[in-house]
Symmetry: C2
Subunit: 342 residues, 2 copies
């Protein structure tokens, strides 16, 4: 029951294919790796046999002969930006990287300041100095990254993380669907607030694409169920107290508001403004987690940054190791967090 030395009879090797095609393994190898220099007739013969016998190169053997450590480069915003969200993403990446270490996969992390285009450029230049076989990038702000990305070799696997970008070049995206996220957040708020009350939502004036689309989803649901929504304009560059005061004032002006929705991870900054206003927001960062636990936040929608990070590294590794084509878009599931399921 322990040692399985059974059936390797049906395992097809490159040598089997060579024998069947009446050529050498070198020729088969050239066909497999499309290195040319093989007569068309033989190419076809070999490809047919490969298909017919379902030949798959032995991963161990190819790994052994290569023995070059593959490197994945990860470019993400500074850890403290976005309230620790990136920290969680990297945590997931690190755990996946740990698993993949014995498979000769290494992950190299580099950070940049997402408010500073120059920081993006220098991070990009920095990473170029070393060899890498795949790139994971959180491409914010897009204006800084787009020109840089054009300089990348066309065949280098590229994954956009968290934010998607329109780009000619072949790439893949892993992240959430912000519209659905906003829509779901609205539903969750709707559940928790008495039917005759209104909603308020914070509208960050410096917002990015992501937040905007989330808001759209939120508004659409509210519209569908006939909830009135008060949008409170806030500049996230303002001081915490100024922002709290602004929101507080707005809530006072409209006493019928029963739920406040903050479309990003900063939700914990708006706790305890008004006792009977439910507070909901985004992202299960430690601070929000604590607030959810103690009841000062009533619900969160989140996208499991750790899982997302781990999945990203795994996807890319699968490509690097098995040559498995990357899935164009991986839409990460949205989670609802209440006090009971954290």
């Amino acid at each position: 029951m322990d040692k399985t030395d059974a059936k390797q009879a049906d395992v097809v090797t490159i040598r089997d294919i060579a024998r069947l095609a009446e050529v050498s393994i070198g020729t088969v190898d050239r066909v497999l790796h499309q290195r040319g220099r093989v007569a068309q007739e033989k190419v076809e013969r070999i490809e047919a046999l490969v298909h017919q016998y379902g030949y798959k190169p032995n991963l161990f053997a190819s790994g052994l002969s290569g023995t070059r450590m593959k490197t994945i480069a990860v470019l993400a915003p500074e850890l403290q930006q976005d309230h620790g969200y990136w920290e969680l993403c990297l945590e997931g990446m690190r755990s996946a990287a740990l698993e993949l270490e014995p498979l000769q996969i290494r992950v190299k992390y580099l950070r940049f300041d997402r408010n500073l285009a120059s920081s993006c450029v220098s991070a990009f230049e920095e990473i170029q100095k070393t060899q890498f076989d795949g790139l994971v990038l959180a491409p914010t702000p897009s204006s800084a990254w787009l020109p840089l990305l054009l300089t990348l070799p066309a065949q280098l696997p590229l994954i956009f993380f968290d934010t998607d970008l329109k780009l000619e070049r072949r790439h893949c995206f892993i992240g959430q669907n912000p519209y659905k996220a906003g829509f779901l957040a609205a539903r969750l708020t709707h559940l928790q607030v008495e039917k005759d009350k209104d909603f308020a939502t914070i509208n960050f004036v410096d917002d990015d694409q992501h937040l905007r689309v989330r808001q759209e989803g939120f508004m659409q649901y509210c519209h569908n169920v006939g909830r009135t929504v008060l949008a409170i304009d806030i500049d996230s560059a303002d001081s915490l107290s100024a922002r709290r005061q602004a929101v507080s004032k707005a809530l006072d002006r409209d006493p019928n508001v029963g739920g406040l929705f903050v479309p990003n991870a900063s939700v914990a900054e708006y706790v305890e403004l008004k006792p009977d206003v439910r507070l909901l927001g985004f992202d299960l960062i430690p601070r929000n987690l604590a607030a959810l636990r103690d009841g000062s936040i009533d619900g969160l929608v989140s996208q499991r940054p750790q899982l997302m990070g781990a999945e990203t590294i795994r996807q890319l590794s699968r490509f690097l190791l098995f040559g498995k084509q990357l899935t164009e878009t991986v839409e990460m599931p949205l989670d609802i967090y209440l006090k009971e399921n954290i």
Copy 2:
């Protein structure tokens, strides 16, 4: 940027260790695999060097030399049992298995009738006929499985799937926490039902451990928030119409019930009994999914059977490939599903 032939300078091989210890690789290998026949003095010298240089065998090389396909045996209830829940689990296993195929891992599935002890025995005997390197088992009913498990070799890795069992033997468990699941379901129901209404829950008289604990969690939450719960006894062996009628009658008797909670995947069988009673249940099986979509079910708690299946196979593979110790208990996250996040 593509070919990384950089630094293998610091990769320590068995040959390096042998050279440093002034012995042959054969001796090092014997020490590494504890095959004996090495002088104590050299054992210590080698072990010290292995530790000092952090030598890790090259996975590719060991895989290559072994080349024996490792087999994982999976024993799970018939696919149609439990409303297709097992089907989803196997789906996840299959997808993980596909990924692992190139790593010489194979998964072999066998089904049994979980209502028939004799079926468990024969499935167990059947699986014994072939070689396997790890076993995944959904051990229901426990009375049938416990005696069989004693006959397994002590070092064979064993994972209990979905249901945990007390067992002397070393093993690992992957599944949900049913108490938390019930608790969460109650919270979800609580959110969707007006505060002055009561709850009803179906109490399957032939229930198993799982359902019982779920019910406990549900009851506890209701108790905490002061909701009255009407328990409706149902025998799941009865016909669908009989069961629907029984529930319907119970609901009619108590017109203040605003929410009905079904503690298992059969929830879709109780749709449209009373228009103003919210319906909540368990498990995102296709049928429930459809009912959630069209609004006849108002919420589900589920445990992502696919993810659970995939994770199980991955865990075991990690052990088989890397010798990575199995995590004792992997508690799968609970998900809340509403119409918007499916």
